[in-house]
Symmetry: C2
Subunit: 223 residues, 2 copies
């Protein structure tokens, strides 16, 4: 697992509910975090607002500047924006870890599993990016509501998929920094399981009216 390191991290889509919670938790753990947005002014404003809460400065800039300056880049944008947003950043992502939290939800029927062309959205991005970008899939199943709530333990484990085990290790460490229990879950194509599971959790939330959202725990694995 190695020693704990602090990184320069960009959170693309960090003005959204999920991204801002990720930025907050990473900054509170001591990492240097920059929020990325298409609109740099909006990113800076979000950074200022989150900084007070994190107890540490969170910067903001346009996506390309944020990703270019970072060692590790989180992608937390809606599925409809995933490919275009990431593709525009490939030039500055060489050899970097891109943590993709994308879930391919159907806008009209999010509780229904609909994998694009039957495949994982994140695995598809890894193919698009080529092996120069170390794409790691994570955070699909954790609701933004639970991520925002730093007063309670997050009731959801994180499945971490990717073709580079060392990159997965680093992301598992970042999840631990965020207070999340995370597991190696296999190659990037296994992201399909996490992506599909989100629709199942949405179905369960609707049927059972789960406050904050249901999650998953992996059982029988030693901490």
């Amino acid at each position: 697992m190695g020693e704990r390191r602090l990184y320069n991290i960009a959170v693309i889509g960090g003005t959204g509910a999920q991204g801002s919670a990720v930025a907050l938790r990473l900054a509170a753990a001591g990492h240097e975090v920059t929020i990325g947005s298409r609109d740099a002014a909006k990113a800076r404003a979000a950074g200022v607002e989150l900084s007070a809460c994190a107890g540490k400065t969170i910067a903001g800039s346009d996506n390309s500047t944020a990703a270019g300056a970072a060692q590790i880049v989180f992608l937390t944008v809606p599925y409809s924006a995933q490919a275009a947003t990431a593709t525009a950043l490939f030039d500055v992502l060489h050899e970097k870890i891109l943590v993709d939290a994308t879930v391919p939800l159907a806008t009209d029927k999010p509780a229904r599993v609909q994998l694009p062309q039957g495949r994982s959205a994140v695995a598809t991005l890894q193919e698009l990016a080529g092996s120069a970008v170390r794409v790691v899939s994570a955070l699909q199943n954790v609701s933004a509501a639970h991520l925002r709530d730093r007063q309670h333990p997050v009731p959801c484990d994180v499945l971490v998929c990717g073709n580079d085990p060392a990159a997965r290790d680093i992301v598992i460490g970042l999840c631990a920094d965020m207070g999340l229990r995370a597991f190696h879950a296999g190659g990037i194509e296994n992201s399909a399981a996490a992506e599909a599971l989100t629709s199942v959790l949405i179905a369960i939330n609707r049927l059972y009216k789960v406050p904050g959202g249901a999650g998953i725990r992996i059982t029988r694995v030693a901490d």
Copy 2:
């Protein structure tokens, strides 16, 4: 939820590790269980062996006889046999519930998610069968080792998918009879999540050396 009912149940593939554990648990809960196999003699022998353990007679016969006499049919055969085995039974499955536990594992790489044509194996069977058969997906994630072990609680919840909520309700009740916590998890296409998750659990078992196999718990849902 309704009152608890006892059913005549066939377990097709009931001579295997998963099927025999299902047959045992259902019989021990009071249901009339018949093991189905291509080989009727083998099915009867398995029934005799399991009866002693269940404290109740478990019958055995060929697949078609077992399914024809049952109200509810469990399908617990390897993926490679799923479509052919089920198709041969469609005639005797009209209006019945077919509980399909199939996981489309790649024989050479079971820890790698590989949904057939990117789709759920069980949803594909529902299409093949047509709406006259009430296909319900269940039990994909519970390891046979845990199912066999009646001395300890099974450390895994069951995701129950299907297009007929009343049929799902009945299957959730049967899971409860087997000592398993089960949840409505949406329409039959959502079975893709459970099927893919099994490969992730196999990957986790390998990486973390989990005794008996890892499972999942759905968090935050009231029991």
